[in-house]
């Protein structure tokens, strides 16, 4: 037995399933699936692709070549890759094709309230969901078997709770990696091509036509029927009063709170095992569905004409972020004692690391009242009300096109700036830049080059000087690419040279041409930059104007001293000596 979190267990499952190719894009909570796969199982080819769509397409190609392939992303990332998944759904599968997708239940990592199972419904593909690390490993292997047996991509849904929970997993330490090539089909086409064939050439036995057929509705029908006998769907018949259909970690919450309930625990949440559900429904007086995320199993069960209680008793977001044992107890055991959180405890808004280059940019934008959009990057912290540096922020890679849209709508009279990280730029932001060039836009773009995807823990990007498959000659240069695309004015500045950076941004905003300011500074956390001498605040000179606090640096605190007086102080353990705060102080109170 080995202690593993869900991400480690999924990586182990990939190894034992004989995966040949793993691709994808970082995204909390599932990033570490790839990190562990790459670190521990060198037999598997791993790549962080430029974005999720590319990652999934790489896996689809590898699967067609006959090898088991894996694509890793978070649910928000699958939105980007959805078109690719639609293309793969229902098509001929050679080597098993599995998507490991992280749902941030409870918004623990700060995602929107998404649910990957919608893609199961939309594209009619199976979704498996583990409840602990052992199941995460086992279902990973099972997912590949199902993918090949029923010729379908399979989604393994993991959640922020599964990913970050450690429990024991049975491991065969002597296991040797085996990879096999399964080349059943010579073609694999999207459903559009196949359905055209199936509708027009029904019943044809011409080999050229037969080759293109893939009777995916029949595969899925067979899978749904077989699922009643799958050992990963467990019917635990106990008392007659309460029955619960559940999956994932809510299974354990249910078991703990309702030890006498009859439970149908689903390892495959889509398609549903109708016979087992009817058997449980006939056995109990009241049947509940306890599922994290959206009311998807609930709707699918109700579609079968079976009466279940779900969101009317357990209202979903925003009333509930995720299931907990407490919520089940409160609703189903109303006599249990209630516990409430102490009132008035201050909350923690996210704060940037001390010395982060984003703080410099946020500060300049705020100081000069430059309107700007933020991307999905550590810099988005500048949107929160303690900083107020940005007025527009949407999805990953969007900020350049958002700024362009604003600028064309306002006839370029007020230059709206797009700020983007290097990760977002390479992922999809580069499309926004190409778009604004050939559409003759005069927008300004700030690209923050911190040499990694900082937000997810420092994975490499196309312009990093490290990476799984890194070779110095293949490193992409942001400035060169911008130049090739046709950006008129490109400046590269070191973030810590405050005056130069300020000048560069102001010049770019004033110019009546399109421009890019590349702000360089490696991520302070990932690259553990050497610290300079800490700064401190002279309390005699400090007027408590709080300009320094509004920078949003973790090291600057407002604290009650021993005498009860509030002081603005710099935490010398956290300060890295970047000096940004001293540029904000009008009273010369902040010194090294």
């Amino acid at each position: 037995m080995k202690m593993m979190n869900g991400n480690e267990a999924v990586a182990r499952g990939a190894f034992e399933a004989g995966v040949k190719v793993a691709s994808g894009f970082p995204g909390t909570p599932s990033t570490e699936v790839m990190d562990y796969t790459q670190q521990r199982y060198p037999d598997i080819y791993c790549e962080w692709s430029t974005n999720e769509k590319v990652g999934l397409e790489v896996a689809i190609g590898a699967s067609f070549a006959g090898y088991r392939s894996l694509a890793v992303m978070k649910t928000v990332g699958l939105h980007v890759a959805a078109d690719a998944l639609g293309g793969a759904a229902g098509s001929q599968i050679n080597g098993g094709l599995v998507l490991v997708v992280g749902d941030d239940v409870g918004r623990i990592a700060g995602d929107d309230y998404n649910d990957v199972r919608h893609y199961g419904n939309m594209f009619n593909i199976p979704v498996l969901e583990p409840s602990d690390s052992q199941e995460a490993k086992d279902l990973m292997i099972r997912a590949f078997e199902i993918s090949e047996e029923y010729s379908t991509p399979v989604i393994l849904k993991i959640t922020s709770v599964i990913c970050k929970t450690t429990s024991a997993v049975a491991i065969d330490e002597d296991y040797t990696y085996k990879v096999k090539c399964r080349k059943k089909y010579t073609v694999s086409f999207s459903k559009v091509i196949m359905t055209t064939m199936m509708m027009n050439a029904k019943g044809s036995e011409h080999p050229k036509l037969v080759k293109c057929f893939n009777d995916f509705p029949a595969h899925m029908k067979r899978l749904a029927a077989d699922s009643n006998g799958f050992d990963i769907n467990k019917l635990e018949l106990k008392g007659n009063k309460i029955g619960v259909i559940t999956a994932g970690t809510p299974y354990f919450y249910t078991k703990e709170v309702l030890p006498d309930a009859s439970i149908l625990k689903l390892g495959m949440v889509m398609p549903l095992p109708e016979k087992l559900i009817r058997e449980l429904a006939a056995h109990v007086e009241k049947l509940y569905v306890i599922e994290d995320g959206h009311d998807i199993m609930e709707k699918n069960i109700k579609d079968l004409g079976i009466v279940v209680i779900g969101k009317e008793l357990f209202p979903k977001f925003p009333e509930m972020m995720r299931f907990t044992p407490d919520i089940i107890e409160e609703k189903l055991l109303p006599d249990a004692p209630k516990r409430t959180l102490m009132e008035g405890i201050p909350f923690r808004l996210p704060v940037s690391c001390a010395g982060c280059s984003h703080l410099f940019i946020s500060q300049i934008l705020r100081k000069h009242k430059i309107k700007a959009s933020a991307d999905v990057t550590c810099g988005l912290i500048g949107c929160f009300p303690h900083m107020e540096s940005y007025s527009l922020q949407k999805c990953m890679g969007s900020s350049i096109a958002l700024a362009h849209g604003y600028n064309v709508a306002t006839d370029h009279k007020e230059k709206f700036v797009g700020m983007i990280g290097d990760g977002g730029f390479w992922a999809t932001g580069i499309n926004g830049l190409m778009n604004l060039i050939f559409n003759d836009s005069q927008s300004t773009t700030i690209i923050v080059d911190n040499s990694c995807l900082a937000m997810t823990g420092g994975q490499h990007v196309a312009s990093s000087e490290f990476g799984f498959n890194y070779k110095p000659e293949n490193k992409l240069e942001i400035a060169k690419v911008c130049e090739a695309i046709g950006v008129k004015d490109i400046v590269t500045v070191d973030a810590y040279e405050f005056e130069n950076l300020e000048k560069a941004i102001l010049n770019a905003v004033k110019a009546d041409t399109n421009s890019v300011v590349i702000v360089e500074k490696p991520c302070v956390t990932k690259f553990k930059l050497p610290k300079g001498d800490a700064y401190s605040i002279d309390q005699e000179l400090c007027t408590q104007c709080r300009k320094c606090i509004n920078i949003g640096c973790l090291a600057i605190e407002s604290k009650k001293g021993k005498d009860g007086k509030v002081e603005i102080v710099i935490n010398e353990d956290l300060c890295v000596g970047c000096g940004l705060c001293s540029t904000a102080c009008k009273f010369d109170a902040i010194k090294s």
Partner: protein, 203 residues
């Protein structure tokens, strides 16, 4: 085994070594043959965000990865604002170990909300629970700052309180931390033992 298992919440802020703490503790219980589930919830924000680890060990398989409010036996907290967030989760006879360290919150710093008017240390002491308050400043010496190694200090305090083998625990530390940090960690562990032996509970 007389002890059939306990529920522990370990709380603090990012950068305090909470994940290492729960990792070291899990190795101790693994050696004793317990079943375990540890859930680490890390909030948004690279640094300074709240960190919460639900740590459950038992002679029987552990079901829920999260501990229900009211089922917590021990709260081990490295930051006192975070301590307050979990007081309601303890059993009536649950025990709190809390550092007086405090990392101010961005919302209070920027006046988006007011800080609590009362002393947080006093609120913890008056919670009605048995509490041990540890002030790292009190043990700061010129050559050694325990606030940087509160995780190892807390491990020693907890081990002493539970009557566990320090020898075993130090061995686990030795096997788990990089070579260059071993000596410093052992020093912190020993400091933790001496703090634990002087500690008096409230009330």
């Amino acid at each position: 085994m007389q002890d059939t298992g306990k529920n522990i919440i370990i709380a603090g802020v990012g950068g305090q070594g909470i994940l290492l703490f729960s990792n070291l503790l899990s190795k101790y219980y693994m050696k004793l043959g317990y079943e375990l589930k540890i859930s680490d919830v890390i909030g948004l924000g690279q640094r300074g965000g709240g960190v919460e680890s639900h740590f459950r060990y038992s002679t029987k398989p552990v079901l829920s990865p999260f501990i229900k409010a009211g089922d917590v036996d021990y709260l081990l907290s490295f930051e006192q604002t975070e301590t307050l967030r979990y007081l309601h989760c303890l059993k009536e006879d649950g025990i709190v170990f809390s550092s007086t360290f405090e990392l101010s919150t961005s919302s209070v710093n920027t006046r988006l909300e007011k800080d609590m008017p009362e002393s947080k240390t006093e609120l913890i002491k008056r919670s009605g629970l048995k509490t041990f308050i540890i002030d790292p400043e009190e043990y700061k010496s010129t050559d050694f700052d325990i606030s940087k190694m509160m995780n190892i200090v807390m491990l020693a305090i907890y081990a002493e309180f539970r009557g566990y083998s320090h020898e075993e625990m130090i061995q686990i530390v030795r096997e788990s931390v990089p070579e260059k940090f071993i000596a410093g960690n052992i020093k912190a562990y020993e400091k933790g033992i001496s703090i634990a032996r002087e500690m008096t509970p409230n009330p």
